[in-house]
């Protein structure tokens, strides 16, 4: 089992979620986050003084998937979250030791 963690542009969330649902991924956790990569921040103007917004708003999607689904999920996110501009985000893949469904106590793949 793997955890796919994707940082994407906020306005892409609905597209990515729908595409993942169609690809058979039925659970995810979404967090509003802020950060910067190579995109860095940008400057804004207020009453004649410039200020730098260093951390840009992003969305973090976390989904736990079985090993055979990993490539499919990565492909789906790449396809739907990409704009081709700087700041599109990143995808991280982690190994997952175990998954437990709290309601039933199921473990492993059954619990995904």
């Amino acid at each position: 089992m793997k955890k796919i963690e994707a940082i994407i542009k906020p306005f892409k969330l609905d597209d990515v979620k729908d595409a993942l649902n169609e690809a058979g991924i039925h659970g995810m956790t979404v967090t509003e986050v802020k950060g910067f990569g190579r995109q860095k921040g940008h400057t804004e103007l207020y009453r004649g003084a410039e200020y730098v917004v260093e951390f840009l708003p992003k969305i973090k999607i976390e989904a736990i998937v079985s090993d055979e689904d990993v490539e499919k999920v990565i492909e789906t996110i790449l396809k739907t979250a990409r704009t081709g501009n700087i700041g599109d985000g990143k995808i991280f893949v982690y190994d997952i030791k175990d998954v437990i469904r709290i309601r039933t106590g199921e473990r492993g793949k059954e619990a995904i």
């Binding site: 906020p10 306005f11 892409k12 969330l13 609905d14 597209d15 509003e32 804004e44 103007l45 207020y46 009453r47 004649g48 003084a49 410039e50 200020y51 969305i59």
Partner: protein
């Protein structure tokens, strides 16, 4: 500290309750003579055969004065929204609280003493009759028929209470101007006490000179300020200036090498709402200052007010766009208010064409004034000085420049020579000196007794928690994503 706090609040409360004992011990008085009888001049040739039950003009005037007073009252909301919107969310409760309490404090103290000092009969420098509105008064009699203690208001034929509430809401406006310039760093109760000083001394004395029959009103060419560019806006502005200077800038506003750090406001929607409420209120502020439902005058004043505000907004937007790079919304809001402040003194005596120019200059002035105050490191989070002080002065000068022989007032550009302009300058300077000196003394006394500025840690954390123990937005809910 806790004990000190409690003592201060008990003292404040006792001071506020003082008049109650006086009121309760007063002899019940006969009600003031009502409407019709008092209006009838002594020299009426013959009794009218069938006098109407009420005089239509008297009723219309009274309703007009009251409705416009309510509009001006509504401007308190405008100030609250503009100021809280242009400050950070961690100080929102504090700013809203100041805007709430400043009007309440003004009502109490302006009723107790302020109105008597401003409009009571007395010396050219201050009035001294009519404490708590008590004393002889035969309003709505006007002119020589008026035999009472508020002779300076004998030109308007409405009941005394209507005169009072109209002047009261103006006093509240002057006091609330201060709150924006000292925002995000002043102690709540220090501001509370200063509001009382505004309503007791600063506003009524300077106001007496101009509207209370004082020395500026009786110059050879009387100083003129129709609706209060000086009386309300400059007085508020000068008091705000001394407060902002004494307090010093907010932490982080200016860097050691002199750079200006932007501290963006937290809600431009609120600021915009507040601007429109103020603009709406101005249709009471200026046209209501006729204190009579005079069809020509109130229509002329309404359109002059509207044009100056609108042109101020356009001018500030373009000046911001050209000199700062972006059409900054906060500057557009300030520009509209600047135009409105600028037209206030002359709104009854100028043409719509002159209003256009007055508003245009106001909108340009306000943007450069904001940059100027930042340059000299006077931190004014909402632009109150640029709007009310700078344009209060500009608007007062405009009477001497643009008055178009309406109501016998002639400015420099309309063949009136420099007489009016010189009177205007005398008024601007004398009021400025008086308000700066007295407000400085008031601030310093408050500073010595209770302190002016909150502790550094409290300022960093926000005054909402430090001063009030609550947050404006405790339930943070993030924005949802939008499908594109």
């Amino acid at each position: 500290m806790e004990k000190m706090k409690r003592m201060v609040s008990v003292l404040l409360l006792m001071f506020m309750l003082l008049p109650v004992s006086v009121v309760l011990s007063e002899e019940p008085k006969a009600p003031a003579p009502a409407g019709q009888e008092a209006v009838a001049p002594a020299a009426a040739p013959a009794p009218a055969p069938a006098a109407p039950a009420w005089d239509a003009k008297f009723a219309a005037d009274t309703v007009w004065v009251l409705v416009t007073a309510f509009l001006v009252f509504f401007m308190n909301l405008g100030f609250a929204m503009v100021e809280s919107g242009l400050c950070r969310s961690k100080n929102a409760v504090n700013i809203l609280s100041k805007n709430v309490i400043v009007f309440c404090v003004t009502v109490v103290f302006f009723w107790l003493v302020g109105f008597a000092i401003m409009f009571g009969n007395g010396s050219p420098y201050f009035g001294a009759t009519g404490w708590m509105l008590a004393g002889a008064d035969n309003s709505p009699a006007t002119g020589d028929a008026y035999k009472g203690i508020f002779a300076s208001l004998n030109w308007t034929g409405v009941p005394l209470y209507a005169k009072f509430i109209f002047q009261l809401v103006f006093a509240g406006t002057a006091a609330t101007i201060v709150s924006g310039a000292v925002a995000e760093r002043i102690k709540y109760f220090s501001f509370f006490v200063f509001s009382a000083a505004m309503a007791v001394i600063i506003y009524p004395i300077a106001g007496h000179w101009i509207w209370g029959g004082g020395w500026l009103a009786t110059l050879k060419t009387p100083f003129l300020d129709f609706a209060g560019s000086t009386v309300v806006h400059s007085i508020g502005g000068w008091a705000a200036l001394t407060g902002a200077i004494l307090l010093g800038p907010r932490i982080g506003k200016y860097t050691a090498d002199g750079k200006v750090n932007a501290i963006p406001g937290h809600n431009m929607g609120m600021a915009t709402l507040g601007m429109f409420v103020l603009w709406f209120g101005w249709f009471g502020f200026n046209p209501g200052s006729t204190m009579a439902a005079d069809p020509d005058a109130i229509s002329r004043i309404a359109i002059n007010t509207c044009i100056a505000g609108a042109v101020g907004g356009v001018a500030a937007t373009f000046v911001a766009y050209m000199s700062l790079g972006k059409p900054d919304l906060s500057m557009a809001l300030n520009g509209i208010l600047a135009g409105l402040v600028a037209i206030t003194a002359s709104c009854n005596w100028v043409t719509p064409g002159a209003s256009f120019i007055i508003g245009l200059v106001g909108g340009v002035l306000v943007v450069y004034a904001v940059l100027f105050f930042d340059k000299i490191k006077v931190d004014d989070p909402v632009g109150a000085l640029s709007v009310h002080l700078v344009n209060g002065v500009w608007g007062t000068l405009c009477v001497g420049l643009f008055a178009a022989d309406i109501g016998g007032v002639k400015g420099l550009f309309y063949g009136g020579g420099t007489a009016q302009l010189i009177s205007q300058i005398i008024g601007i300077v004398s009021v400025g000196v008086f308000v700066v000196v007295v407000s400085l003394i008031s601030w310093l006394v408050i500073k010595a007794i209770m302190g002016l500025r909150v502790e550094k840690d409290e300022e960093r954390q926000g005054l909402d928690i430090g001063e009030h123990g609550m947050e404006a937005y405790p339930d943070f809910v993030g924005a949802s994503s939008k499908r594109t």
